[in-house]
């Protein structure tokens, strides 16, 4: 049994699975249920000046019949009085002292207001703060959320105000709605943040109803851009985590958020530098019970590889991310098709023919069967055929080109040229 406990900048939890600040952490009742189900921590739905919400609020993105590969929302921060939230936080913490309770906070960018909020909340005994500089909808129009998170100097300033009075670790939650997440992460570090979490939701419009022509979700016939999340955003989040993990000027722990729905997703984020992960959409889809397999699966994965602690995998793949100019141009893989498994759908053929490099041929084999065969001398090793094969019978094989390793950067240097 591996040790799944984690320590994110001093915030400890028995496993790396936290609920992200979102509808599932709206109340003490819900967080209590979540902890009973096994969640290691919860970031309470953002506290601040209570707001008024609209209906409807969420939109789902389906792919064919797979429900909710993505979702967006135009719900705002908590709509409940601060004192109610604080009373419930205190109750839950008393019932589950081993779990991490982190309070998400949002305020106008004024030092006095932030001080008052931080002091009021830490008085009930939270394990940390997460500053919501990320919500892209609604609150940003009022100068909060991503309106702060998009300006690194404002991130630094506001973080500094919080750190001035906070007695617990401060996490800054970053918005992906920027060009380079490292700049806002550096702003958080400059302001004294103890950790960063990412990503908050992405600016989005989930769809338009083909019958009514109303955008989705609609509020009395109109809509507004929302925050996008769910499995489809995972690659964006994972890259941002990797970018920050590789950045020496960030250098603080990362809590990974964005499309995480399984222990496998969690392992990927941890390998790319996240100390723990936060989950929302998967719970909105399936309920708190999903954490059971997340814990079980991660444990079995670690045991299977003889790894004693979940913390041991954090950041183990970070060094494998680099810039394109450092990639080895002499490395080659080619596709090979396992004819015994192939079902002859010809999807690899048409993908290569129309969208890649025309290196899969349809030939009749000696026993008279139609087959698809890769012309390995022409194959550029793009992976496309292997990606679309419905029975996974195409494998990418390494080929020794006999050429020494050489990156674009090295190649340009040899030619006496700058790479930038």
């Amino acid at each position: 049994m591996a040790d799944l406990a984690i320590d994110l900048a001093g915030i400890r939890s028995p496993n790396p699975f936290w609920l992200a600040s979102a509808p599932p952490t709206n109340s003490g009742y819900q967080v209590m249920r979540a902890f009973e189900a096994g969640w290691g921590g919860a970031v309470w739905k953002t506290l601040g000046e209570p707001i008024v919400n609209v209906t409807s609020r969420f939109g789902g993105l389906d792919f064919k019949q797979t429900k909710m590969i993505g979702m967006n929302n135009i719900e705002l921060i908590t709509d409940r009085p601060l004192e109610d939230n604080l009373r419930e936080i205190e109750q839950v913490k008393r019932a589950f002292p081993d779990r991490a309770i982190v309070a998400s906070l949002m305020e106008m960018p004024e030092r006095r207001r932030w001080h008052e909020l931080v002091k009021a909340v830490q008085a009930v005994g939270v394990d940390g703060f997460e500053l919501n500089f990320g919500c892209p909808h609604g609150m940003s129009e009022r100068g909060m959320g991503s309106a702060v998170g998009q300006i690194p100097d404002l991130v630094a300033q506001t973080t500094a105000w919080v750190v001035e009075v906070s007695r617990v670790p401060v996490i800054v939650k970053l918005t992906p709605n920027i060009t380079d997440v490292r700049h806002t992460a550096r702003g958080a570090v400059e302001g004294g943040a103890h950790a960063v979490s990412m990503i908050n939701t992405i600016n989005s419009l989930i769809g338009v109803d083909l019958d009514s022509w109303k955008p989705i979700p609609q509020v009395d016939g109109q809509s507004s851009h929302g925050g996008y999340c769910g499995p489809a955003v995972k690659p964006i989040a994972l890259n941002m985590v990797a970018e920050c993990a590789r950045d020496e000027r960030v250098g603080i722990p990362i809590s990974g958020i964005g499309g995480i729905a399984s222990w496998q997703d969690a392992v990927e984020f941890m390998l790319m530098g996240a100390t723990n992960v936060q989950v929302c959409t998967a719970v909105m889809h399936h309920g708190f019970g999903i954490v059971e397999d997340m814990i079980d699966g991660l444990n079995n994965y670690l045991d299977g590889r003889g790894i004693a602690s979940a913390g041991d995998i954090v950041g183990k793949s970070v060094d494998r991310m680099t810039t394109w100019e450092n990639l080895n141009l002499a490395y080659k893989v080619v596709a090979r098709i396992d004819q015994d498994v192939c079902i002859h759908c010809n999807k690899c053929y048409i993908a290569c023919e129309d969208a890649a490099h025309q290196c899969i041929d349809r030939v009749v084999s000696s026993d008279g069967r139609d087959t698809v065969v890769v012309d390995e001398s022409e194959c550029v090793g793009c992976n496309l055929c292997a990606m679309i094969c419905p029975v996974d019978c195409i494998h990418m094989l390494e080929v020794d080109t006999g050429e020494p390793s050489q990156s674009w950067k090295q190649r340009q240097a040899l030619a006496g040229l700058e790479t930038r």
Binding site: Q65, I343, H344, C345, N346, K347
Partner: protein, 456 residues
């Protein structure tokens, strides 16, 4: 996945086809891989672009889906119900080896059902060419040829001896497999293109073949086959002895058929025999038995038809052949059979004839006896057109042209008995081919149907 919902009622009990829910259909459509140069399409005699029509179901484009089906196969709604899909598209599906082929027939039925309900007209006649073509017979081959010729702009006159169009689709296939309203709807789609129809007119009896050849620029012979001939044994003229097709037709039309029981004997082991057996069962006969002179492995009915008959409670007796029908007054009351032994392989016969075993006679009670031993050939009619033929099978070249340059033939009248059963889908394709060939002859142009003749 569960496509098994309550099937709709027909005049003879529930359909063998389950009703399909939109969610189940979408799940099945989304399971389709959209193969390139898909084997299902290659396996379809009419070359329906199966992957295309399934993808269109997936995107909610049911009109487009139905168009893909019906453009390739004017009998697309019937074929969705009667095609032996496990031998054709579904058998060729890349998932067939895993015993979970895409349910192409069900999806085709869903798209064509939508078309029937929608009332959308997909096709329009082409610009008039001034050419006149006669079609003899309005079964799948004749209707298919008519549809194609009308889209090409040729005037078409249909002659059919029956009061309604559709041939065996309308009259000869049990309603729980192919309801009459589907067959009639399909005929109606063709008629909407503007066709001169002469029903109740028997070519050969009411109109001379020579007159058709003289009056029309081309003739397409799609007359099918004739009745099931007598077995040539004593007692066959007793009441209660039926030609299977007549029995099915009367039952399908609700045409005063008396309760066929308690014991029914059906002679023969093809798909028509299965239809007659299950039909008799559903008419209320407690005991319905099939008798076949060969063995189980020799039966020509599709395996799924055989399974269906077993499911309906039909019994089977192999290696026996009737030698006499016994009556009580005018009514049949029993059949005497003799057991048979498998015939010796012979160089000249595809399937050796079984031999009777002397002294093995036995009598079974039967108040209804149905002959389903294969239809006769319309040799006289073919002769009336002066066409070359072989034992009633019209001789055609690969363009389906007969020995007469103005006459083409399609459907069961050119069906040479082989290992596989005559199929509606094959007849539909032959109708298309004959139409294209007639068009080529009349216009000396490639028979390409342009997009402009397709309703958008």
């Amino acid at each position: 996945m569960d496509l098994e919902r309550a099937p709709r009622e027909t005049s003879l009990g529930p359909s063998i086809h389950a009703e399909l829910s939109e969610l189940d259909v979408l799940a099945e459509a989304n399971r389709c891989l959209n193969c390139y140069d898909a084997p299902c399409t290659r396996a379809c005699p009419t070359h329906i672009d199966v992957a295309s029509f399934i993808q269109k179901i997936g995107t909610g484009n049911l009109k487009g889906s139905a168009r893909v089906i019906m453009q390739a196969n004017p009998m697309g709604a019937s074929c969705a119900r009667v095609c032996p899909t496990e031998d054709l598209c579904e058998g060729a599906c890349v998932y067939a080896d895993d015993d979970r082929p895409i349910r192409i027939g069900d999806l085709q039925r869903y798209a064509t059902d939508w078309l029937v309900k929608s009332g959308v007209d997909l096709f329009q006649p082409g610009r008039a060419t001034g050419k006149n073509i006669a079609i003899v017979g309005s079964g799948p081959a004749g209707l298919s040829a008519t549809r194609e010729l009308r889209r090409l702009g040729h005037a078409v006159t249909i002659f059919d001896a029956n009061p309604a169009l559709g041939g065996l689709n309308t009259y000869g296939i049990v309603p729980f497999r192919l309801p009459m309203d589907v067959a009639l709807w399909e005929a109606q789609q063709v008629l909407k293109l503007g066709v001169d129809v002469h029903t109740g007119v028997s070519v050969g009896d009411d109109v001379a073949p020579s007159e058709l050849i003289a009056r029309f620029d081309a003739v397409i012979l799609a007359c099918g086959m004739g009745s099931v001939p007598p077995l040539g044994i004593p007692g066959e003229d007793l009441d209660g002895v039926w030609d299977a097709l007549e029995f099915i037709e009367r039952a399908k039309c609700g045409d005063g058929i008396r309760a066929p029981g308690p014991s029914v004997a059906v002679i023969g082991a093809g798909n028509t025999a299965i239809d007659a057996l299950t039909c008799a069962k559903r008419l209320g006969a407690p005991r319905v038995t099939m008798y076949y002179r060969r063995g189980e492995s020799d039966m020509t009915a599709y395996p799924f038809e055989y399974d269906f008959a077993k499911h309906e409670g039909v019994e089977f007796r192999w290696y026996c052949t009737p030698i006499r029908m016994l009556g009580e007054g005018p009514m049949v009351r029993a059949v005497e059979f003799v057991r048979t032994a498998p015939g010796r392989p012979s160089g000249t016969l595809a399937r050796p004839l079984p031999a009777a075993i002397p002294g093995s006679e036995f009598v079974v009670e039967a108040q209804t006896v149905i002959r389903a031993t294969g239809q006769s050939r319309l040799s006289d009619l073919i002769g009336g057109f002066g066409l070359a033929q072989s034992h009633g099978i019209v001789a055609v070249d690969e363009t389906l042209r007969t020995s007469h340059p103005k006459v083409f033939a399609a459907g069961d009248c050119i069906f040479a008995k082989g290992s596989r059963e005559a199929m509606v889908v094959e007849a539909a394709e032959q109708g298309k081919t004959a139409a294209a060939s007639a068009h080529r002859m009349l216009c000396q142009a490639p028979a390409a149907i342009t997009q402009s003749s397709v309703a958008q």
